[in-house]
Symmetry: C2
Subunit: 342 residues, 2 copies
Amino acid sequence: MTQIPETMFAVLQTGDGYSGQATGPAISDASDYLENGEIAVPTPGPGQVLIKLRVASVNPSDMHFIKGEYGQPRVKGHPAGFEGCGDVVATGKGAEGLAGQRVAFVAAGSGAWADYVVTQAQMCIPLRPDISDEDGAAQIVNPLTAMAMVDIAKSEGDAFVISAATSQLGKLMCMLGRDLGLKPIALVRRAEAIEPLKELGAAEVLVTSDPDMLKKFAKISAELKPRVFLDAVSNQQSEQIFAAMPNRARWVSYGKLDAELPSLSRMGQLVFMGKKIEGFWLTNWMMTTPPADQGRVVAEVQARFADGRWKTDVSAHLPLRDVVSGLADALKKTDGKVMITP
Amino acid sequence: MTQIPETMFAVLQTGDGYSGQATGPAISDASDYLENGEIAVPTPGPGQVLIKLRVASVNPSDMHFIKGEYGQPRVKGHPAGFEGCGDVVATGKGAEGLAGQRVAFVAAGSGAWADYVVTQAQMCIPLRPDISDEDGAAQIVNPLTAMAMVDIAKSEGDAFVISAATSQLGKLMCMLGRDLGLKPIALVRRAEAIEPLKELGAAEVLVTSDPDMLKKFAKISAELKPRVFLDAVSNQQSEQIFAAMPNRARWVSYGKLDAELPSLSRMGQLVFMGKKIEGFWLTNWMMTTPPADQGRVVAEVQARFADGRWKTDVSAHLPLRDVVSGLADALKKTDGKVMITP
């Protein structure tokens, strides 16, 4: 294996814990939240691996996180960054199988915006040789999440509901839904999104500001019987959509784009209609889904990148050492992902 | 088999659908909701059985139901009554295995307060010969529900939370919890209930009106780590209790004693802590739980009645033909169940 140095360059969080605010992913200057640093290369513990970074990608969740507005607390002095791809250069006990492999990863131990990264073996996916480093660096947070959530929807029937459907994840889920012969019902904020989403694969598109929206949804729900609601918004309208879904419906929240707290108007539906309210978090999915189910979903994602059905649009390249000074500017282009290289 | 007559005596619902009110189980005169009638003996369809009634019991859910305040709609002209015991005298296709058996049942087809009752085979439990008709007539709605819910709690750990713990069901669950080596955490409305519930088996008892209740609960939760909340109240305090429970906690609602709508203050816990909100309805449990799991739970209930650990307290006996005129009076004694005989 490669010689591993004692220290490394890393982009470090300057904030600690939660900010208590909810201001969204936008930043005007990354140095408000991050600083350059030289820290010890971490050692992988049991079940962990050490990865030498090839490429890290930037996701909205990284921005929520460094601002202290994500579901996990910041740790001051630890590297930022969730997602990337690189080579496993050291392994802890029980993770030896990954030694030497090129992997896509999500960082659960130390952040991805560093020369070296520690994470759990379960958070790594060995990459097929025909997948590029950049596709590998952006393969998990959006594509795998989309595939894993659509897989849940598919297990319950053919129709499912997606809120905030114009997001990257929403669009991926519409495309996937159609590819798999399912019927995505897309919820959007603006009428201009109706046609593009139908072209991508949505069976129905509803505009959330339409005063007749719930009436229209009830009609579609009675006809298509969607059993799963993949919801990034989680507000009162979400609750009303869930209440209009048929028996055995699952409201699966994976985000909270609206601060409004939904109140449960139809508790009895949980009892008498077998409905459920739950969440989806990819980290949890990767840590707990049986290997066979996970393997099926991962293989489907990699096949799509390998044969070109999916590709990662890159809007900017940023050297790791320029993240603090250059990230805010790089994020101004919104036609793809920012890729960070050591 | 017995000769089956063409018509039968039955106590019929006079209301239809839902009342739109929530006034609780009390009635001043059963004739406000019920009337005597002579109707055709029903014919069991596929998967159903016809039962000749031995004894029917009266539960609070019967009162909610005839008043139009239950989670299922009334059907005018159909018999009332959910629970009883009797002999299977005719079977539909696929239900032949129950022919001639004495069973405990919940009525899903036509009500239990009639000479004959039709229900699904899955809603019948063949009775051991050493169980009395009266214990058989009150074996499902409370005892089996308690056992099935505690079985869910047990599958997730040793501590669990029970609201409205002074109800018959709540007390049964406390007793069962201790018997099975678990730690029931009981929530009650009045401080007088603390000692009796501790004697029954509660590991901890909290009074919901105590201003420090949530603080005390958080401390107990951190220590005992309850993963299941069996909740008959389902109000905002329930939501706060759920929010104070550890990761993977399940809020299992089985009733709505408080009309207040809970608002979900910690949606992110569903995502990042893997918490879930769901319901429990015995009918659904009986229709969908795998036979082996169901058999284990049923056998445990029958063993308790057979060896005398459990018995049904009977407060009054009421002939079927006197239900309309006498039920309100019979329910005034609250030290046991009213038993109805043909």
